[in-house]
Symmetry: C2
Subunit: 333 residues, 2 copies
Amino acid sequence: MKKRHIKNLAAGLIAVFAVACSATQPAPGERYVLVIHGGAGTIRKADMTAEREQAYRETLEEALRTGHKLLQAGSSSLDAVEATIHVLEDSPLFNAGKGAVFTHEGRNELDASIMDGQSGKAGAVAGVRTIRNPISAARAVMEKTEHVMLSGAGADQFAAESGLEIVDPSYFYTPERWQSLQEVLKQDSLKTTGNDSKFGTVGCVALDQQGHLAAGTSTGGMTNKRYGRIGDSPIIGAGTYANKEVGVSCTGWGEFYIRHVVAHDVAALMGYKGLGVTEATEAVIAKVGEAGGDGGIIALDRNGQMSMSFNTEGMYRGAITESGEIVIGIYQP
Amino acid sequence: MKKRHIKNLAAGLIAVFAVACSATQPAPGERYVLVIHGGAGTIRKADMTAEREQAYRETLEEALRTGHKLLQAGSSSLDAVEATIHVLEDSPLFNAGKGAVFTHEGRNELDASIMDGQSGKAGAVAGVRTIRNPISAARAVMEKTEHVMLSGAGADQFAAESGLEIVDPSYFYTPERWQSLQEVLKQDSLKTTGNDSKFGTVGCVALDQQGHLAAGTSTGGMTNKRYGRIGDSPIIGAGTYANKEVGVSCTGWGEFYIRHVVAHDVAALMGYKGLGVTEATEAVIAKVGEAGGDGGIIALDRNGQMSMSFNTEGMYRGAITESGEIVIGIYQP
């Protein structure tokens, strides 16, 4: 309990002192069309090799270029979100898809959600074990069923019946994530938090040529999670939300994001109080921080203004403008 | 598709003409301390026997009296919500606990969530099969873990380890719900909606002597649901939400409630736009109706003002004031 208290206190202090990296806006006349994150947490330059940092930057750039290319060609924001997240899910660097962390039982249970801001439709899957790209399963739930959220073995079965790519659960094995689980198990067999095992979720918000927004989030959850724990990523309103004004994707300590209904709260502050996208994400991150939680939020509004706010030491993140100008960040600015 | 369209159109018309039953307020100086619902849907006096209506009224009253007694004795709003929902879960009349509907595979998979408005803490379980009172499992998740949401077999296991009452899945068998599944299967083996098989969720909001609010929701979901479908009831922000200003519990076509983040939207309209509890619930029900969804919302604010809004033909509902004055309703007013 003491340790937890200190952690919460530390998170509070970080929240107070964090300089949210959200002021970056494009040159006049330009607008952002795609924003991504690859997880927030204790990401320090001192702990990173040049090669590893390079790998992260290259993958973030590849993801941005993939979505941008689709948007340039007139594809929908939904298509751009799905394709962009595929790049991040297929990389072992992020805690989503291929790089998903392990549960207490040594399995990988993945969550994802997607929302189309224009139609207000949404889809999500939780606790799936055999779907290579959970974000596509979330989209299939949205487009092919009358449901929003499917879970567990039923969601895997649905994905298989929908013709999505099914993989053997061993596809999600990576030595690094396995090692993380062993370390957590050594410390405390029931612990999920207290280190950054809870971070690494990926997400994306896109704005297409029709002015329509979409947002998506995909994750492996927390290392050593048990009991079918579901975090904020597959929950519409918590980890993902989009309407006609703004798209939002979150990463962080999921429980705080659920309690604060973070993604919808950003949209509500904009829609009901008239806050701008930066003010709104910073206000919500501040609430999460005051409660002892940490993580990040990316948001993109219908005018191409974006925000990438976080109260952790770092967040893998990037954005691209209509003309292809890229910003990528990892650490505190 | 045509049928669906007509259904949506009908829902829209109902939404426009519905007289929300939310104007009832107590005598001056009195305040409501407990509000409940037992599901919204096509509930018509013509389809109801006097005995059946009496049974519903008696159970709703018993639930209200149970929670009221605790509140009178100085118990917390959380205790009152849990005990009140137990009465509804233990009755075969409602689609929660004992009276849960059947999935496509002929099982009962229950969902519940609870939120403490004062602390902002929350708990939920989804897709559980052996827990007699899912609302107590939701509370145990909130109080005994660092998580908010547990699902599937893991949630059942957690409940057993927490000492909650575990029952054989056959406990949830009722001939009436089994018959409902057989009828739906005869019509369309893949259909979950289109009749009122999706309704019957129970919920409660309470205000204790300390002025603290809590809200909870419990359901069996939709008859013939498949693929581990999760509705709004276990989702904080969608089916349940509480903060220091208001507590909210929802019932209805869950997918629309998730997309509209209904419970949090009520709180956001009150907190950010200054709407009263009645205005806020009516505004949100109107949005759900415009999108083609139907159902109901109950809400209770910290001043003891309550609202029971719905755009269906009926909603089992009731409220009790501090002094024990009861209102119970079933049909449109």
